[in-house]
Each structure stands twice: as structure tokens, then as C-alpha cells.
Amino acid sequence: MIDKTVASTSAAVADIADGATVMIGGFGTAGMPSELIDALIRHGARDLTIVNNNAGNGDIGLAALLKAKRVRKIICSFPRQTDSYVFDALYHAGEIELELVPQGNLAERIRAAGAGIGAFFTPTAYGTPLAEGKETRVINGRGYVLEYPIAADFALIKAEKGDRWGNLVYRKTARNFGPIMATAAKCAIAQVRSIVPLGELDPEVIVTPGIFVQRVVEIDVADQLSSPQAVA
């Protein structure tokens, strides 16, 4: 019997090793798997490379992971925000490496890793500083930049519902990077609001088929409401 459900967030992240590359879903805090990140902080893995659209908000979730000095490098599109002071301080102190990637290139590089694409030519960033040092080519009169996939050891994502086979549906704009990150990691871990019996998710609307997901952990709604994340 296939059963990808895991009893706790701590168990779900227990084998994330020092030096791992970890994708973290979310756009700002929408879709950010805060409970899994908290478990990763408790677990203690360090020297991590993190892939996320941003670089943390306030003192919670990804920002808390950065604050705990567990991250060596971050790959993201938009680190600077009004409440990214944790990242800002680390960056100015030279304590974190930043690889800045245009958001669409970030998404496509993640998608490419999950889809087995070796590299691709994209028009985004052609002729800009973010293409410096990269191979370029003119195709049908238009300039393109060669970009390589971004794969990960683990992906931590947040979905609305999942089942024991790992099928997932999301909620509104909390979907964002979840589906593509699930495809690009050797081990995709989804925190869901509820685990439902097989067959309850309409097969016509399953967004992430279970083959892309290795672990599913249910986060109790009451837990979410009583956690510092929900208050902040």
C-alpha cells in the first residue's frame, strides 16, 4: 500500500542534511509552508541553499530560517521588500550569497528541472546585467539567453488538500510555485490543511499528481491559528 502521509512536520524533514538544496514554496507569505520551515529550524540542518521567490518577510517562516543562520545561499527573484530586514542585514554583512534570477526564469528553470530539460533559451534578461557571462544566441532575429535548470534535494510546499498517494489541490494564489517545485525536487514534502481519503479529490481538478510528491503532512487548522505565524 502506498502511504505518503507522515505523522509530524518533524518526521517529514528529519533527513534534510547539511548543505542540501531546499526549494520553499510561496509568494511572500501566500503558500509559504511555515510549519515545515519551523520544523526545519528545529531539525537544525545548516549550510542550506534555499530557492524561493523572495527572501523572507518579518521574523517568521523563511525569515526565521535565515535569522537562525542556516542558509548559505538564496536563489530568488525579489529579496528586497518592506519587511525583508532579516535578509537585508545578512546581505549587507556579507553573510549570505544571493543569486538573483528574473521571476519567469526562476519558474522556468524549476519547471525545466522537473521536466528533464537540459537547458533552454529565454528572451528574458537578454542585454541586461542579469545575462552577463551567460551564453546567448539570436534565433529568428531575437536575442535569447541560455539558462540551466534548478533542481533540489527537497521541496517544502503548502497545499490545501492531499491524499495518501500524494495528489494535491491548492488554494487560490497560494498555489504559485508549489506545483513546479514538487516536480523539481528529489523529495517533495507537502503540508496540507487536510488529508482526505483516496477518491475524494476530483481527478479532473487534481493540480499535482501524486507521482511528484513523496511526503504529505497534515497541519491542524487549530495549530495554524495558535501558532505565531497566524498571529504575526
Binding site: 501566500a30 527573484s77 529579496p79 519567469g104 528574458t124 542585454g127 541586461t128 494564489t173 506545483p179
Partner: protein
């Protein structure tokens, strides 16, 4: 000198967005365009974080942390709207499916190069987000910006001194003084704020401008 207000600029941009258009409004000033889109036109707003058919801000108390826009503010979804993941969202831009985007800018060059993501200052933390994808992806790129910097330098320049967002990507510039098209023959003035003459506008602009009438005459010669 009379200048268009923010709202007048936004209304002017909105006038150029036709029925049926798919549009992405950048963070900041461009978001004001949404308030001026004519109600009788069905125009669909796309947000990079995965929604098409974005509606206005929700009523106080009805905010949903899972339903936000690119600026991470709470929004709503129109009836008939859709959610999708990030790779699909940027396929809409890069794949040429989006009819218009409206972006803010630090500088635009005479050939339509855009600089809007980074001042290049040594201590500035660079952040690009979706700006580069929008700049090269949308079928038509509108820029909305002040004509001059606070220190009265033209933001329309021969060559951008700030790091580029995209090369030759801007089609039309809406400033607080004028509406200007980027054409292969150079910058053509479409409209000027009431009370300002062409020569006065030209004196405030860092590169040569053409009158719309000249551009039309040239076009007729070519035909």
C-alpha cells in the same frame, strides 16, 4: 507649469486599453490604472503570482491571505477568473499572450530600452521580480513615469545610465507632461499637457522629439 496628476496619467493610460485586452499592471503607479478602466469594457487583469481576472480590493474584513496580487496586497477574483501556477503565469508573458503591460521606470531610452529594476548603487539590494519577463513578453509595453527626476533631469535619455530591464521593449511612454511613442524613426509626441508647447517639451526632454504631424507626413511619403 501644469502637469498631469497621477490620476490623470492613470486615466490616460486606461483610455488606450481596448475591450477584450489581457493586461498586467506593474507594482506602484501602474496599479492606479485599474481604477480608471472604463466599466463598459471587459478587460482582464493578470497578476504574476497566478491569477487572471483580478478584481478590486476586498471590503475591510473580507481579506484572504491566500488571495493577493504581485504587490502582496489582498485582492479579489472576478467571476470567471482563474488561478494557475508560476510557470503558466510567466508563459502568459513570455509566450506573447498578454496584450499589454504597464510598468514604472527610472529611465527609457530613445530606442525603447527600459531601466526600472535597480539603481545600480553599490549598497542597494537588487530585486527584479517579474519586470524583465513583462518587459520582453507583453505585446505592447506602456511605461508610466514622471517626465523628469526630482532634480529636473530628463528620464527620457539617449542611453540608460541605470542597469537595463529590457532592450528596445517600450512602445509608448506616458509622463506627467506628454504621451510619446517609441518608433523606429525616433520618439514621436502623441499628446502634450494643456498649456505646454512642443518646443518647451523638447527642451525638457533629453533626446530629440518629433511632432506627430511630421511622423504622419513621413509615413505618407513611404506609402
Amino acid at each position: 507649469m501644469k502637469r498631469y496628476t497621477r490620476d490623470q496619467m492613470a486615466a490616460r493610460v486606461a483610455r488606450d486599453i481596448p475591450e477584450g485586452a489581457y493586461v498586467n499592471l506593474g507594482i506602484g503607479l501602474p496599479t492606479m490604472v485599474a481604477n480608471h478602466l472604463p466599466k463598459e469594457r471587459e478587460i482582464l487583469l493578470q497578476s504574476e503570482n497566478g491569477l487572471l481576472g483580478m478584481g478590486p480590493a476586498p471590503a475591510a474584513g473580507a481579506e484572504d491571505a491566500d488571495l493577493i496580487n504581485a504587490g502582496k496586497q489582498p485582492v479579489t477574483l472576478l467571476t470567471g477568473g482563474a488561478y494557475f501556477h508560476h510557470a503558466d503565469s510567466f508563459a502568459m508573458m513570455r509566450g506573447g499572450h498578454l496584450d499589454f503591460c504597464v510598468l514604472g521606470a527610472f529611465q527609457v531610452s530613445a530606442t525603447g530600452d527600459l531601466a526600472n529594476w535597480h539603481t545600480g548603487a553599490a549598497d542597494a539590494i537588487p530585486a527584479v521580480g517579474g519586470a524583465m519577463d513583462l518587459a520582453i513578453g507583453a505585446k505592447r509595453v506602456f511605461v508610466m513615469m514622471d517626465h523628469q527626476t526630482k532634480s529636473a533631469e530628463s528620464k527620457i535619455v539617449a542611453q540608460c545610465s541605470y542597469p537595463l530591464t529590457g532592450v528596445g521593449c517600450v512602445n509608448r511612454i506616458f509622463t506627467d507632461l506628454a504621451v510619446i511613442d517609441v518608433t523606429p524613426q525616433g520618439l514621436t509626441v502623441v499628446e502634450i499637457v494643456d498649456g505646454l508647447g512642443f518646443d518647451e517639451l523638447a527642451a525638457l526632454t533629453g533626446v530629440p522629439l518629433r511632432r506627430a504631424a511630421e511622423a504622419r507626413a513621413d509615413k505618407q511619403k513611404v506609402v
